[in-house]
């Protein structure tokens, strides 16, 4: 009897755990699930996670400085497939600088920036192919890291 009670309580705790996790938001998602670059990069406070539904497109604006390298990494829950990332210029034309659709939906990219720019990161989640998920929401994270662009040493020999 005692064993049955123990099993029952264990099941109850398991159930409660699922309930508590399910109730959380995904604001920190990028910190746990996006791929970090090597340690020469620093975490950018412009990183962001948000909830997405199937078939949804969302954008956010960010600022990049000249003379710096940026590493972008996106991550999303397994229910989503082939999430599209586009890097746009934040100007009247919104010209597309990068589209991961052309690179087999890769989730990371690094770029070197010559001047300060205002950019837009646009994330698009495709429709649910099964049609079963409806408007259920899942996390998508965008992790941004940066570092000063490496400069070749000039005319200096030895330490």
């Amino acid at each position: 009897m005692k064993l049955k009670i123990k099993h029952f309580i264990c099941c109850l705790i398991f159930f409660l755990q699922g309930y508590l996790i399910g109730g959380q938001d995904c604001f920190y998602y990028h910190e746990y699930f996006c791929k970090f670059p090597n340690s020469s990069f620093f975490y950018s406070g412009q990183s962001r996670s948000a909830l997405f539904a199937f078939g949804m497109t969302s954008e956010f604006k960010l600022v990049t400085f000249g003379g710096e390298d940026y590493h972008l990494s996106i991550c999303y829950e397994r229910k989503f497939k082939n999430v599209r990332v586009r890097l746009l210029e934040d100007n009247a034309d919104h010209s597309v600088l990068y589209d991961n659709k052309e690179f087999n939906y890769q989730t990371t990219m690094t770029f070197t920036n010559n001047v300060a720019r205002k950019l837009i990161i646009e994330i698009s989640v495709p429709e649910d192919p099964t049609g079963k998920e409806g408007q259920t929401l899942h996390c998508v994270g965008v992790l941004i890291n940066f570092r000063k662009t490496y400069q070749e040493p000039q005319n200096k020999i030895g330490f």
Binding site: G45, F65, G66, F111, F146
Partner: protein
């Protein structure tokens, strides 16, 4: 008998939790909808229903000051807001703006790896954040670890970055973006103040002046952010105070470097070229500097 009673109670508990879960799901769905609206500048779903909302990001003080270290400037303690000024900040608005100013100061201090000042300012920020009801960031336990020299110098900088990020995320999670707007406003004015003080003699090629000029875009995003939350009186008054600074940044000239190009190198890295280079003359530089100093003086003492 006792065992049966436990099972009965557990079943009742499970039933209550299930009901709560259903209710919570409903609330969560409603909350999620609100979050989507807040997080996006343009959100479309399959029915093309656009939600009109803007989300702006801007570099943190640590990202701005990272440059200072690269250029080998010397730490100047007179530039930071003195710790005793905290006693002047009695109302919520001045405490929130003051928090932003001290956060920027901590970023500056940690860049130069000053242990003693880090502890003092970290504790000060912790106390101020408690006053404006921001928990979870700037944990006092971390302060104790700094005190015991348990952290290496790189960790000190990471603490500043992590604490600021935690604070930003806490405020977003709790729908307190108006507080974030005030903190960011205080932090940016302090960053500008320190940067202008380090700039020295005017020259367009001066690396610090180039950096200040580049900060125009970051300031524009911040200013737009303040505008969005201007339904709050405190944010509205700060946005009004920043109007002249925004106009001055708008007077910078833009030199075209050609259409923006992107090319991929053999190692996979992309290179962004072309675009627009911002330029500034001495008159505008002096006007900007004077406006920043005036704003900073008001923010640290007037409130």
């Amino acid at each position: 008998m006792t065992g049966l009673r436990i099972i009965k109670l557990s079943l009742i508990g499970l039933f209550v939790i299930s009901i709560c879960s259903i209710q919570s799901c409903n609330n969560q769905a409603a909350k999620n909808k609100a979050n989507i609206a807040n997080d996006t500048i343009k959100t479309s779903s399959k029915d093309n229903a656009y939600l009109e909302s803007v989300y702006y990001r801007f570099p943190t003080p640590d990202e701005i000051f990272g440059f200072i270290k690269n250029e080998k400037f010397k730490y100047d303690q007179t530039l930071i807001n003195p710790a005793q000024n905290v006693e002047k900040y009695l109302d919520s608005k001045s405490q929130t703006i003051g928090l932003g100013i001290y956060v920027a100061d901590l970023a500056y201090i940690t860049i130069f790896e000053s242990y003693n000042k880090s502890i003092e300012y970290y504790s000060l920020i912790h106390n101020l954040s408690e006053k404006v009801r921001i928990t979870s960031a700037y944990d006092l336990e971390v302060s104790k670890r700094i005190e015991k020299n348990l952290l290496n110098l790189d960790s000190l900088k990471n603490i500043s970055i992590d604490s600021y990020s935690s604070m930003v995320e806490y405020l977003i999670v709790n729908n307190r973006e108006k507080t974030l707007a005030l903190i960011a406003a205080g932090a940016y004015i302090e960053c500008f103040y320190i940067a202008f003080n380090h700039a020295g003699k005017f020259s367009e090629a001066n690396p610090m002046i180039v950096k200040i000029v580049d900060l125009k875009y970051a300031f524009e995003n911040l200013y737009s952010y303040l505008q969005i939350y201007s339904d709050d009186e405190a944010v509205k008054s700060v946005a009004a105070q920043f109007r002249t600074l925004n106009s001055l940044f708008g007077m910078m000239k833009e030199k075209s470097l050609g259409k923006t190009t992107i090319k991929q190198e053999t190692d996979g890295n992309f290179i962004l070229g072309g675009g627009t280079k911002l330029t500034i003359d001495k008159i505008l530089f002096d006007q900007l500097k004077s406006e920043v100093f005036k704003l900073r003086k008001n923010l640290i003492s007037k409130y």
